[in-house]
């Protein structure tokens, strides 16, 4: 350990550099606030946005913790891809009763809060105790010296082997090649699975142009519906057309729109003779 300390010359007494500490104290509260927002905000879209903020902060953490590759991947994959997917599904599903923050399970909130705090304390305390006196290594430090095993920092390849991306690629395609291939298989399976889950089978064949035309002729009403406002005093969409005898045509108004009561009994235009009168 002392050898490693010597290799990381600028680190003193296990402290991280001041800049990193400042960044932590800014980003840490921000990420916590984002996480709290995710849990507490009623609107799911707001939750998603605050989660995106937390992930951005985490990406920053990766960058300052000498993992630039992971930092950028975090920002691109998580905040870019995954969070968009979340928002997309949110929009698709729309808002419903699930947004309600009213708790239906008795004691669930209290228990969850107690367990959460207890778990956080337990892990934080134990982690703090376990890593008491641990020091940060300088992953950007000098290359290991040949013939000096201790300078390999446990035999690991470090960022100084070119760059962080190069080093990770080295590891991925050598030591972790099999696992890497496994993730590719996993992603393919996931893609196929998502397709199968989201796919909806068409239950009847798609209607052809010919079938549609035949259906229209056979319906007994081949001509289009009258437009609204014809022969009327208004041309608003809710104004029914007037038939030659002066009565209103209900067909001319889109279904669902209320025909205004003022059109119910429109007097016939002068000169137009109703059928009944003609007979008389």
């Amino acid at each position: 350990m002392s050898q490693l300390l010597l290799a990381a010359g600028e680190l003193h007494n296990g402290q991280v550099p001041l800049g990193e500490a400042v960044a932590f104290w800014i980003l840490g509260p921000l990420s916590l606030a984002g996480a709290m927002g995710t849990v507490l905000l009623r609107n799911a879209v707001h939750s998603a946005l605050s989660l995106a903020g937390t992930m951005m902060c985490l990406g920053m953490f990766y960058l300052i913790e000498q993992g630039p590759f992971l930092g950028f991947v975090q920002i691109i994959v998580y905040t870019g891809a995954i969070m968009i997917l979340f928002l997309f599904v949110l929009m698709l599903v729309g808002r419903d009763s699930s947004d309600s923050l009213v708790e239906t399970l008795r004691g669930q909130r209290l228990a969850a809060a107690l367990f959460g705090i207890g778990f956080a304390l337990l892990v934080a305390l134990s982690v703090g105790r376990a890593f008491k006196g641990s020091t940060p290594a300088n992953l950007n430090g000098t290359a290991p010296t040949a013939g000096d095993p201790s300078s390999y920092a446990g035999g690991k390849v470090l960022n100084s082997n070119g760059s962080n991306v190069n080093s990770i690629a080295d590891l991925l395609f050598t030591r972790y090649l099999f696992e890497f291939e496994l993730t590719s298989a996993l992603l393919i399976v996931a893609a196929v699975g998502a397709m199968i889950l989201a796919h909806v089978e068409r239950e009847e064949p798609k209607l052809t142009q010919r079938a549609l035309a035949r259906a229209r002729i056979r319906s007994g009403r081949p001509q289009p519906l009258p437009g609204p406002g014809v022969l009327s005093s208004h041309n608003a969409i809710g104004t029914p057309a007037l038939l030659p005898d002066g009565s209103i045509s209900e067909e001319s108004v889109m279904s669902g729109l209320q025909i205004g009561s003022e059109y119910e009994n429109v007097p016939a235009l002068p000169g137009v003779i109703s059928e009944g009168e003609g007979e008389r």
Binding site: F24, V39, S47, M55, Y62, E65, F119, K132, A153, G193
Partner: protein, 99 residues
């Protein structure tokens, strides 16, 4: 400030995510909280990498991201198909498997 602080932060984020899973009813928000937990673990892994002076932690975090991506895809597809049949995204509404 030592790297342990990152770990404590990670524990806090993880716990907040866990509480979110327990208290939110919208399945998508629950899922987001699970992502939060995964990210918290990722922060720990990166910090371990820093402490140990090796890149294995970062590789691990990388794999976690991959798995998380696959999981999100499948999970959201499941939520979609449940929503299609039940017209609800509430985890409490899908409670048929019981006594």
């Amino acid at each position: 400030m030592t790297p342990t602080y990152y770990l404590v932060l990670s524990a806090a984020l993880f716990s907040i995510g866990a509480v979110g899973v327990l208290v939110r009813k919208n399945a998508i928000v629950v899922f987001m909280c699970i992502e939060l937990m995964l990210n918290a673990v990722n922060l720990s892994l990166v910090t371990f990498s820093r402490i140990n002076g090796s890149l294995d932690g970062q590789i691990m975090a990388f794999f976690v991201m991959t798995v998380a991506a696959a999981e999100v895809v499948i999970g959201l597809a499941i939520i979609m198909s449940i929503f299609r049949t039940r017209r609800s995204a509430s985890v409490d509404d899908a409670n048929l498997l019981k006594y």
